[in-house]
Every structure is written in structure tokens, then in C-alpha cells.
Amino acid sequence: MSDTVSSFAARHRRSLLLAPALIFLAVFFVMPLFDNSLRSFAPEEGSGFTLARYAAFLTDRFYLGVIVETVVLSAAVAAISVVIAYPVAYVLVRKSGRFSGMIVFMLIAPLLTSIIMRTFGWQVLFARRGLVNQWLVQDLGILDAPLRWLNTPGLAIAALVHVLVPFAVLSIASVLQGVDRRLEEGALMLGASRWRAFREVTLPLTMDGIGTGAILVFMIANGSFVTLVLLGGGFQTLPLLIYQQFNTTRDFALASTMSTILLVIAVGCLWLQLRLVRRQGV
């Protein structure tokens, strides 16, 4: 008996090791997700199946606008984050030397603070009578009157980028670290300028990191809630609308419809971005 058990365990060792994680995911992720989706297809009364909520949602200009705004905001945050993150990752991997540990710590340190506290920090800094306006109006005399920064799209995007840039930096840095520097040196020896060597050798070789960073940031921005609810920015996004259905209107079926649509958008964008990255030949 003992031998039989041992041989079964030996044959299925990999599956057995994976089983706890798979069971956990199935019970606490896949099943609730499935149940949530089912609710969106349930008719108002009785049993059955209906697409009425999806039809109503996807034919309403207001809701379509919310979907577009959610995707455009996430894409903008992902693009800005990658642009900011690449030079930071480059310096971290290539130039920082013994300071690399410190840079990594400085990147990660903000993530150790509650996102609510960080967002309140933006409120304090950029309030009408906050530090930034005080500096611009009273100390430097650049402005006559304080600016209204809060509740503007620019500040909401800046706050999201601030939260999400570290994810992009770490994704790009991990790939950049694996790039063989001799390839760039070869390009330089063959007469390429530094910029051309970067553009035609280093950048293509790090597309995987850029893609991963962009996907990661896009996904998190797609579902981001706290920053937008506190800093507003006038954005109307699906996560805000979903929260409202639970907290204010208690329309759980509509919330399920929206969350399923948000999930489909996220998966669709993930698939698209992966295809784009792979098309680069990486």
C-alpha cells in the first residue's frame, strides 16, 4: 500500500505540488468570478438567461463613454509610466553601480505606504491654499491667484502614474539586466552612434520588459479606484460605477454586468498587447 502511494506521488509530483495553488484559485477566484458573471445574465424575475443588461449597457451612449474613458485613461497612464520608467530603469541597471540597492529601495518605499495616505498627500500639496499654490503665488509671485489643481484630469493622471511607475521600472529593469552588453558594444564598434545603438539594439531587446510593464500598469490602472474617487479628475470609469452600484443603488446585477465587461476589456487588451510585443520578434 505504502509503495503504491509513494509511486503515485512520484508520478504525479508536479500536479500535487500545483494542486494547493490551483484549488485556492479555483475556489476563491474562478468560482466567484463565474458566479458574478452568471448574475449578470439572470433575468429580473424567474430563472433563465438574458442579454438584456448587456444590450442596454452597450447601446447607451453614456455607458459607452464610460468604457472608452476607462480604456483611454488606463492606456494614457500606461504610456506615460513606461516613458518615465525606461530612463529610470536604464540608470538603475547601467549607471547606478553601488547605489542600485538604494534606488530600488526608493522605488519600492512609496509602495509600503497606504495608497489612501499618498492620495491625501496630493490633496494637501495641491489644494487651493496648499503648498504648491502658496509657493507659486506668495513665495515666487509667478501667479496672481491660486490654481484649482484638484479635480482636474491632469492631477488624477499624475497621481496614478506616481503610484504605478515602480511597477513599470521593475519590469523593464529585469529585462534590461539580461541584455548582453556586448551586442551594444559591437554596434558601437561598427560605427553606430550611441543613440542608434540604443534605438536599434537595446530598445528592441527590451520590448518584452516594456510590454510587461505597460500591461501591468494598464491592468492596475484599469481597476484603480481609490485615487480616482479621492482626486476625481472628472473621470467616469467602470470601477467607480461598479462601486456606486454596490454602495448607493444596490443594483448588483448591473454591477456584475459592468465587472464582466471590465474583465473582458482587460483580457482583450492583455491579448492585444501580447500580440503586439510578440510581433516585435521578442
Binding site: 490633496q123 494637501v124 489644494a127 496648499g130 474617487v229 479621492l230 454602495n247 444596490r250
Partner: protein, 345 residues
């Protein structure tokens, strides 16, 4: 015995399963699971209601933190075996829960202290609950920047529209907004439950000078950081800030009367019978006085004697308007949809 990794994993899994089987997935016989908002609320619930309940019954009270929408969803998910025995509810959700036949009837036989609660508060919960605490939504302002605050909702709208003040008002994502802001302002401006045009017209006039708060702490940040000069907020929370040493903040109950923002208590059907003992403690005048002193909110037992400080702060029930919660519940989702489309989230 040699302990290898396989043995370790097996033992861990067995221990975990054994532990799971002992989880208190359902309230045990001598344990009552009650609800509270976080922060000072939780402590007040523990000190003023849970402690005397435990002393009298010998049972244990556990406190679940969260919000009414979440608690009601938990009971709706498992009405035959509710995970919570006593619910703290917003008035509109109390009506929904009562209409859904999820809650038990409140009677003086079960709750002797109910005799001293105004009948209208029990009627407002369709007899399946009652109000135990109330505040008023009004105008909170920063005295450093507002020397002549508006005394009425109408003056508030005029002043904000004219750019005399930047106002912080609750966003539609905050659960009580449809009642204590939308209905209250609309009512003050001559609207009705079926005609909220006055509210939306006023918001359109004020839009350039508004910021929105998502939660009470957010409002205080708006005032403290100077983003806003005044706004729509609660009396009790304002006085709590004053008691914490904030000397620049003050509150006005608008002349038209602010919306009475009540907190209801309900017992889900099939919840522990011990809930009656606990709710009776919640309605007790001595316990309610203590609760009011901590939270700076009015309480509903007619026999309550407020301290001198509190008596000056708590508006009498006649100085606030009890919103028609049942009527509002009927049209609330239409209001929210209109807000989303005309004002934004």
C-alpha cells in the same frame, strides 16, 4: 522519525483542514455578532452597548465592522442562517430590508425600551426596526475664511454660484448622498421627491465652485487643506473635530432644516434571540446618553438627559426634517443615474 518535506506538507494540510472545521462559520449559541462603523463608532458601540449586554446576559458580543450595504448583502445571501445578528442600517436600506421580509418585527414585548422611542421612528422602518441615533446634514465652514456663513441652503447656493465660497459637497459614490444632500437641498429649494429639477439646476449654477468629497475624512481634508471654504457635512462629525482641538470649524443647521440622518437598528429573521437583549440595551436611555456624549449625535429615547455641552449642540427633533425614506427609495436609482449623466461621478 525522519521529518522530510513530504511529511511536513502533509501535516500542514491536515492541520489546516482540522483548523477550518473549527471555524465559527455561524454565530455560536452564546455569541452575538453585532455591527458597527469603524473608528470612534466602534469603540462607542463596544463601551455603551456591548459591555452592558455582556454584563447582563453573560453572552459574548463580537463586533463586525463595515457598512450597511455590505451587511444587508451578507444577510440576503444567507437569510436562513444570517451571519450577523444585529444590523446598523441607513434608513433607506432599513426600508428595503423590511420590504424584503428579511427582518423581525419590533414590539414592546420583545424590547421594553421601545416604549420610549417615538413611534414614527419604528413606523419609518415599517415596524421591522427603529432609529436609535440621528444627526443633521447642514453647513460646516472654516471660520478663518468664512466670516459670514450662509444661514440657509438657498443662501449657500447663491454664495457658491457667485463664487463667494468654494464648497465641498458629497459625491454620489457616498451612500447617504441621495438623502442628506440631494433630497435636503431639493426640498429646501421647493422640489419634491418626484421633481428634483431644483437640485440639478442649483448644481449647474454652482458647478465651477464645487469639489466633491468621497467620504467624511475627505471633507475634513478639503477644509483643512484650504481646498474648500465650507460644505455640506454632519453636525456630530463637526463637533467631534471641535472636541479634538480643531478650533476653526463650525456648523450651521440651515434655516429650512437639515435632513435628519438617522441610524436604524434591525434584527434579521433567524438571527440569535439574544439580539433582543442587545437591541434593548441600544435603546436604553442611560446607554444612549453615554453613546451621544461620545459621538456628539442625538439619540432617540425620550428619557435621555443630554449633558450641558451636548444639549447646546444636538438639534431638537423638530429642528430637522425627517426625509420620506420609503418614497426616496422608490426613485433613488433614477436620481443617481441622472446625477451620473449631468454632474459626473
Amino acid at each position: 522519525m525522519k521529518l522530510n518535506r513530504r511529511h511536513f506538507l502533509g501535516a500542514s494540510a491536515a492541520t489546516g483542514l482540522a483548523g477550518l472545521s473549527g471555524l465559527p462559520l455561524r454565530a455560536q449559541e452564546n455569541v452575538l455578532n453585532v455591527t458597527a462603523y469603524g473608528g470612534v463608532w466602534e469603540q462607542a458601540i463596544r463601551d455603551c452597548f456591548v459591555a452592558p449586554f455582556e454584563a447582563k446576559t453573560g453572552a459574548t458580543g463580537t463586533v463586525s465592522l463595515g457598512g450597511p450595504a455590505q451587511w444587508l448583502a451578507q444577510v440576503e445571501a444567507n437569510p436562513e442562517n444570517p451571519p450577523l445578528d444585529v444590523l446598523i442600517m441607513t434608513p433607506d436600506l432599513a426600508v428595503i430590508a423590511a420590504e424584503g421580509d428579511l427582518m423581525d418585527d419590533f414590539t414592546v414585548e420583545k424590547l421594553p425600551n421601545l416604549a420610549d422611542i417615538p413611534q414614527e421612528f419604528t413606523d419609518a422602518c415599517l415596524g421591522k426596526g427603529t432609529y436609535f441615533d440621528y444627526g443633521v446634514g447642514g453647513i460646516t465652514y472654516n471660520k478663518q475664511y468664512v466670516s459670514e456663513p450662509p444661514k440657509s441652503f438657498a443662501a449657500f447656493v447663491e454664495g457658491v454660484a457667485a463664487g463667494d465660497f468654494i464648497a465641498s459637497v458629497p459625491s454620489i459614490s457616498y451612500g447617504p448622498t441621495p438623502v442628506f444632500f440631494l433630497w435636503a437641498l431639493n426640498n429646501a429649494l421647493g422640489g419634491t421627491v418626484d421633481n428634483v429639477d431644483p437640485f440639478f439646476e442649483a448644481m449647474a449654477k454652482m458647478k465651477d465652485n464645487l469639489v466633491f468629497w468621497a467620504g467624511p475624512n475627505d471633507f475634513f481634508n478639503h477644509l483643512a487643506s484650504g481646498e474648500a471654504d465650507l460644505g455640506i457635512y454632519f453636525d456630530g462629525r463637526t463637533w467631534n473635530h471641535v472636541d479634538e482641538g480643531v478650533d476653526w470649524i463650525d456648523f450651521i443647521n440651515p434655516e429650512e432644516g437639515g435632513a435628519m440622518t438617522t441610524v436604524a437598528v434591525q434584527k434579521p429573521k433567524h438571527a440569535s434571540p439574544l439580539a433582543w437583549d442587545y437591541i434593548n440595551e441600544m435603546l436604553d436611555p442611560v446607554n444612549q446618553s453615554k453613546f451621544a456624549d461620545i459621538l456628539n449625535y442625538g439619540v432617540t429615547n425620550k428619557k435621555v438627559q443630554y449633558s450641558e455641552k451636548l444639549a447646546a449642540r444636538v438639534p431638537s427633533m423638530s429642528d430637522a426634517i425627517l426625509p420620506p425614506y420609503a418614497e426616496i427609495a422608490r426613485v433613488r436609482n433614477e436620481w443617481v443615474d441622472r446625477w451620473n449623466r449631468e454632474i459626473g461621478m
